[in-house]
């Protein structure tokens, strides 16, 4: 099959178009601008709709409308813009509307800088918007995976009727790698949407809503949401592990950081230190399974942030193993050498 050289941002755009995304709205922000530009060209070529909105708030609410009307819809942004989208993300979750939201993270807090970072992990996996809701969060670590996970994101969003986030960083977004852009005629999963707003011809009116005023109604609805989230935790957890069976120390990292950690593991093995790697692919649901006691070892979590995913790892090992941490952020990235030194200190 033909491979093309393409950036992560563009790969996400191509995957979206191939997944049948018919609506994109976004507002420029670095380091995800290539995606907006790609969609402006590609989605219109395929008969879809592109809107450069006046703000991130507007973009996410346009996606709300497009999704309510039954279309596969996407928006993308980077950290400060994702903060603005939180209102709409909470409303999408509340109205049970599918959508794909891409966050190509940069440094923060505040305006931060445009260097790659992973410091929006809490915001992505623990909420960010108001209310008891969850997002499925997928973390690609290569251009190929950015493509594959975006395709998956559209399917999961439709199946579970909820927003799904692609969480990458500036390196994933901007680096170029060969991509196998699957078949030109990928079969789009055709999920029926009887709830969509299409005009009430021949049926009772549909309402896209998250507002429940009568006592007890919202609690009942929220319990339903929680049930859905439990089901997802049981079915949709994804991760990759390498050299863990005999490992005395297991590195845990996602996205770009996992690539550096993987190189560190290879070097450590050469140095006769039994290291392994666990790479969460779904950040929510978090792959608790991967930390099962049989694989018990020491863990070193490394992140391009000052310690966010490490909290989920600690919850997963539940006190049964030691969990160490190495992190940098604001444009700083833990190097292979720093990781190796840290591991040697530990073992």
């Amino acid at each position: 099959m033909n491979k093309i050289l393409i950036s992560g941002n563009e790969a996400i755009g191509e995957a979206a178009v191939q997944a049948g995304c018919g609506f994109y709205a976004g507002y420029p922000i670095t380091p995800q601008n290539e995606l907006t530009a790609y969609m402006a060209k590609r989605i219109t070529e395929t008969g879809g709709i592109f809107i450069q909105s006046e703000s991130e708030i507007s973009a996410i609410n346009m996606v709300f409308g497009a999704s309510a009307a039954g279309e596969r819809a996407m928006t993308s942004s980077s950290s400060p813009g994702i903060s603005l989208k939180q209102e709409g993300i909470s409303y999408l979750a509340g109205a049970q509307l599918p959508a794909v939201i891409v966050n190509i993270m940069r440094g923060g807090p505040g305006l931060g800088n445009i260097a790659p970072a992973q410091s929006d992990y809490f915001q992505a996996t623990k909420g960010g918007g108001h209310g008891d809701y969850r997002l499925i969060v997928l973390a690609p670590y290569s251009v190929q995976e950015a493509f594959d996970l975006t395709t998956l994101a559209f399917d999961l969003a439709d199946i579970y009727r909820m927003p799904v986030m692609i969480l990458g960083d500036g390196i994933i977004g901007q680096m170029m790698e060969p991509l196998e852009a699957k078949s030109k005629k990928r079969k789009v999963k055709n999920v029926e949407k009887p709830w969509a707003l299409t005009g009430c011809k021949g049926r009772k009116p549909n309402i896209a809503r998250s507002f429940y005023m009568k006592e007890g109604d919202l609690e009942k609805f929220n319990l339903g949401l929680q049930g859905k989230y439990k089901k997802i935790e049981g079915k949709e957890t994804r991760w990759e592990e390498k050299y863990v069976d005999d490992a005395r120390i297991i590195l845990v990292a996602y996205g770009t950081m996992a690539r550096i950690a993987e190189e560190a593991v290879k070097q450590l093995r050469k140095d006769k230190i039994k290291a392994g790697l666990i790479r969460p692919i779904t950040l929510w649901p978090f792959p608790v399974e991967a930390f099962r006691p049989a694989k018990r070892a020491r863990y070193l979590v490394t992140e391009m942030s000052y310690g966010q995913m490490v909290e989920d790892v600690r919850l997963a090992v539940n006190g049964k193993a030691k969990v160490e941490f190495l992190g940098r952020s604001g444009g700083g990235i833990p190097t292979q050498e720093q990781i190796i030194n840290k591991v040697k200190d530990i073992v």
Binding site: G199, P205, R209
Partner: protein
């Protein structure tokens, strides 16, 4: 016997939660009548606001979406772009459309979205307990302007219809008052025109309805209607703006 009036099909036969003398109920009914008369009930998609009319979709009997406070025109843009064959409208209060949603309003209008906007101007925030709105009249007492709106610190009533009228793609704007039978007949005509424009593909159309909020104006329903005619229309003159 010939039947000259009946309950509009597009309005559910339920009791509303609005206060006595409130304009929302009247506006809902006018929209429902127009939808019936134009025969678009099976094609229409309404976007309800955040404000006293937040559950308008419990009263209208057609497809509706909610929208976050102020975002109705962004939501409507998404719907209309995906379904240009449907008729899409937003129903928004002055807080919704002219305060938190100003950006969405101006930009949807300036993109020339072929959408109909029903803008309920009651010069106050009803749902949250009678605070100042961008359209509150100078000197008007509200929960957050207890001495009356002081234009030196709170600005002047925002004339959103006049502001939008200067935008090239805006095709039709009319301000009407829900204050007397003759004005209500004019209001219905304007609403019908705004929907007809969409059907004809004309473009962005907005009807501003001056609407009573007797509860937070601290008036009887009858006094509130008089206040529209005597005070509100001085600040917001009735008639076609564009």
């Amino acid at each position: 016997m010939t039947k000259i009036y009946s309950h509009p099909k597009s309005l559910r036969g339920v009791t509303t939660h609005y206060c006595p003398g409130c304009g929302h109920g009247m506006a809902h009914k006018l929209i429902a009548e127009v939808v019936d008369e134009l025969g678009i009930r099976e094609k229409i998609i309404g976007v309800a606001p955040v404000g006293c009319a937040v559950i308008a979709y419990d009263y209208w009997d057609f497809d509706c979406s909610e929208a976050a406070h102020g975002r109705a025109l962004a939501v409507a843009t998404g719907i209309k772009r995906v379904r240009p064959q449907n008729i899409v409208f937003t129903y928004q209060g002055d807080g919704d459309l002219a305060a938190i949603g100003t950006a969405e309003t101006i930009h949807a209008a300036n993109r020339g979205e072929n959408i109909t906007v029903i803008f309920m101007n009651n010069a106050i925030y009803g749902m949250t307990g009678g605070q100042m709105a961008p359209t509150t009249i100078a000197g008007q007492k509200t929960a957050t302007t207890p001495q009356g709106r002081d234009v030196r610190t709170s600005g002047y009533p925002l004339k959103i219809s006049e502001m939008l009228a200067v935008l090239e793609p805006v095709k039709y704007i009319e301000r009407v008052g829900l204050s007397s039978p003759s004005n209500i007949i004019k209001a219905k005509k304007a609403i019908k025109q705004a929907f007809q424009n969409q059907i004809d593909g004309v473009g962005f159309s907005l009807v501003e309805l001056l609407s009573p909020c007797p509860t937070y104006w601290g008036m009887s329903p009858a006094e509130a209607l008089k206040w529209i005619d005597e005070v509100m229309t001085k600040e917001f003159p009735l008639g076609r703006i564009k």
